[in-house]
Each structure stands twice: as structure tokens, then as C-alpha cells.
Symmetry: C2
Subunit: 206 residues, 2 copies
């Protein structure tokens, strides 16, 4: 639970690393998660996001798993499904419109998907540690798109059934930068003077 009184499902969202390797999501549940992403806002309603749906054991899953980083190779394959987010880049010759804003908008859609998972009693853990180039090649991602991240979704498993490294990762305390270093007034690095006393910046994992 986050240490500040934000709303659900924001408040109880966190990123566990121990998933139940037997649990499966129904197609209807996966569709519901995709619908949450679908209705995210985007610049000009361009919806620059695509998702590869890699349920455990599927062909897409078999493309991903060999290319996971060492740190992710233990826990990610236990999740019920991995959504791989892909951004379709623009062609205006402008960094903001072609790259930054599309990537920003995919992040929004993935946040919606992740929060929907928590609202459904599932858990989601986003990760970036995999060979993006190899996965893109294996999935036939075109030149004007980039694989951005994975979102592992499932239910919590038994920490005693996973490697010690993953069980430890699951228990790691969470922390965030103080808001005075994030929220500025009209000059960079000048904290917004209205900041009310805020909660602590660390939380237990739960």
C-alpha cells in the first residue's frame, strides 16, 4: 500500500516478482485489460499503442522468453500473460511529434492497463530487461515501430517456490524522490511553494 492517501487502484498498485505459474487469465479478462488501454487519452486521438499478447506457452511467449535478461528470466515466465507494448512512431521529422509524444501516450495506455489489472485483483509488473531488437525481429515489428516494455500480469504466487533472488526482489522496500525535487514553479529546480506536507517517500512492498 502506498504511504499517501491516493485513490484506488492507484493506492495499492505495486510490482510483485512472485507470480503463480499455474494461474491463467480468461480471454474475457485479457480483453478487459486491453479495453482499459484502448480508452486511454492520446494526442490527436492517434492511439499510437499496439500490444502483443503473450499468454504463457503461446507462440509470442516462446519468442520473448529466450531473450529475457538474466534478472527477468526467473519471474517473468511465471506470469499468466505478458503484454509487450509497441509504439508506432510518427513521420513528421520532428522529435516531439514523432517520438516523444507517441512514447508518452503508450505509457499512458500501459498505465491504464496496469491499473485495470490491480482493480481486477490481479497484479502487474512492468519490465524493460530483454533484448528488444531480437524480440522485435522475432515478432515482425516494422521499421516505424519500437518495442518498449513488457507488462507481466497474473496473481501472486508462493515465495517459497521461486528462486531466492526473486523472493528477495518481491520484498524490496519501495521509495520515491521527494516532491520538492519534482514539482516546480516558474523556474526549473525551484520547488513549487504550495507543496503541502506530504507522506513518507518509502513504503513496504504491500
Amino acid at each position: 500500500m502506498n504511504p499517501v492517501a491516493i485513490a484506488e487502484p492507484l493506492r495499492s498498485r505495486w510490482s510483485p516478482s512472485v507470480f503463480d505459474a499455474q494461474h491463467e487469465l480468461t480471454d474475457a479478462e485479457i480483453t478487459r485489460l486491453l479495453e482499459a488501454a484502448q480508452w486511454a487519452p492520446s494526442s490527436g486521438n492517434r492511439q499510437p499503442w499496439r500490444y502483443v499478447v503473450a499468454t504463457r506457452g503461446s507462440a509470442a511467449h516462446r519468442v520473448l522468453v529466450p531473450h529475457l535478461s538474466r534478472g527477468n528470466s526467473g519471474w517473468v515466465p511465471r506470469a499468466s500473460v505478458v503484454f509487450l507494448s509497441v509504439v508506432v512512431l510518427g513521420t513528421d521529422g520532428d522529435e516531439l511529434k514523432d517520438v516523444l509524444i507517441p512514447a508518452h501516450d503508450v505509457g499512458q495506455a500501459s498505465a491504464h492497463l496496469t491499473l485495470q489489472a490491480h482493480a481486477m485483483g490481479l497484479h502487474a509488473h512492468q519490465f524493460g530487461g530483454f533484448d528488444h531488437t531480437a524480440v522485435a525481429a522475432g515478432l515482425g515489428i516494422p521499421d516505424d515501430a519500437r518495442v518498449l516494455a513488457g507488462i507481466a500480469v497474473g496473481v501472486r504466487g508462493n515465495p517459497e517456490e521461486v528462486p531466492e533472488r526473486d523472493a528477495e526482489r518481491d520484498q524490496r522496500a519501495r521509495s520515491r524522490r521527494p516532491l520538492a525535487e519534482t514539482a516546480y514553479d516558474d523556474r526549473w529546480d525551484h520547488p513549487w511553494p504550495g507543496l503541502a506536507p506530504s507522506g513518507p517517500t518509502t513504503a513496504e512492498q504491500g
Copy 2:
């Protein structure tokens, strides 16, 4: 209300264009919105987001308003506060790590802020139509950062008090691409075959 049965506050989030030009948020409410962004996930917990807090009439607001696009110059200044999102870029010489992932993570934090606003009974409308270069210069944004978007937050106003263009925009029907064009299996452009029958892809504004 979105036409699919996703969870609150995702379900009732939309982007109105008619704000009450008298309403003000308390500092505690603004802090709460920033806390929602603060606890978003990010790659390596790098939290690459910064927010300029531009309450109506503040110095930061006076920097922004003259640089709004014509389409945004009517409705944005009526909002109680505008958060300008800024991404701090990486320096690894790698497009994915330096640009795409940081922008993606700012999008996530902004989605959390936006959803927190709706959970608090406020409304939020994100926008990109302003002179990003001029605003960055006016706020002293450093070379390794980019202004991405504005998030106008407030409460709904009376459509009869705003220009017809803004009242019309507020009533515009919303639509999204069908999921079959977003969710793929192991080949690009091949719809994920598990897609359950999904809701309609258009919604009234409310």
C-alpha cells in the same frame, strides 16, 4: 462514461473543454495529484518526470498562456491549474533508454495524475497545442529535458459561458480504434485470436 465495463476511475475519465473559471484547487489537492504521479512505476525507478505547477494567475501560468495554440487559448486558461509535464532525457547514446522509455514513463505518471483527478471529482484534459520551445525557454528548462504536454485540471463550467467552439468540442463524441487493430499475437497486424466480444468503440462525452 466509457462504453466498456472497465474499473473506476478509468471508466468515467474523459477530457472536457469547459472549465469553471472561478474554481480554485487547494494546495493540499494539488499535492495529492502530484503524489499520484510520484508513485507511478518507472524503468529502474528513475522517475524521469518533472511537473511545472501553473495555477491560474501564477507566474508559470503567465509564461504558458501567451503560447497556447489558437484552439487551446479559450478553454485552457479557465482551468484551475495546468501541470506541464517535462521529461529528463538520458545520456547513454541509446534511443530506447534516453528518449523512448523516459517519455513512456512520464506518460504513466501523467496518467496517474489524471486518474487521481477524476477520482477526486475533478476533471482533467491533457493537451499538446502550445509553443513548446517558447514555453521551455520561458521556464528555464535545461537542454537535457523536454516539455511534453499540459494537463488542465479543474471542475466543469457552464457551456453557455464559453465560446461556441469550446462548447462544441466539449460535446464531441469519442471514439477508439477496434481492439483487433491494436492487440496482436506473434505476428504484427495479426489480431490476437482470443479477443472476446468487446463493447462499442464510440461513446458520448460523459
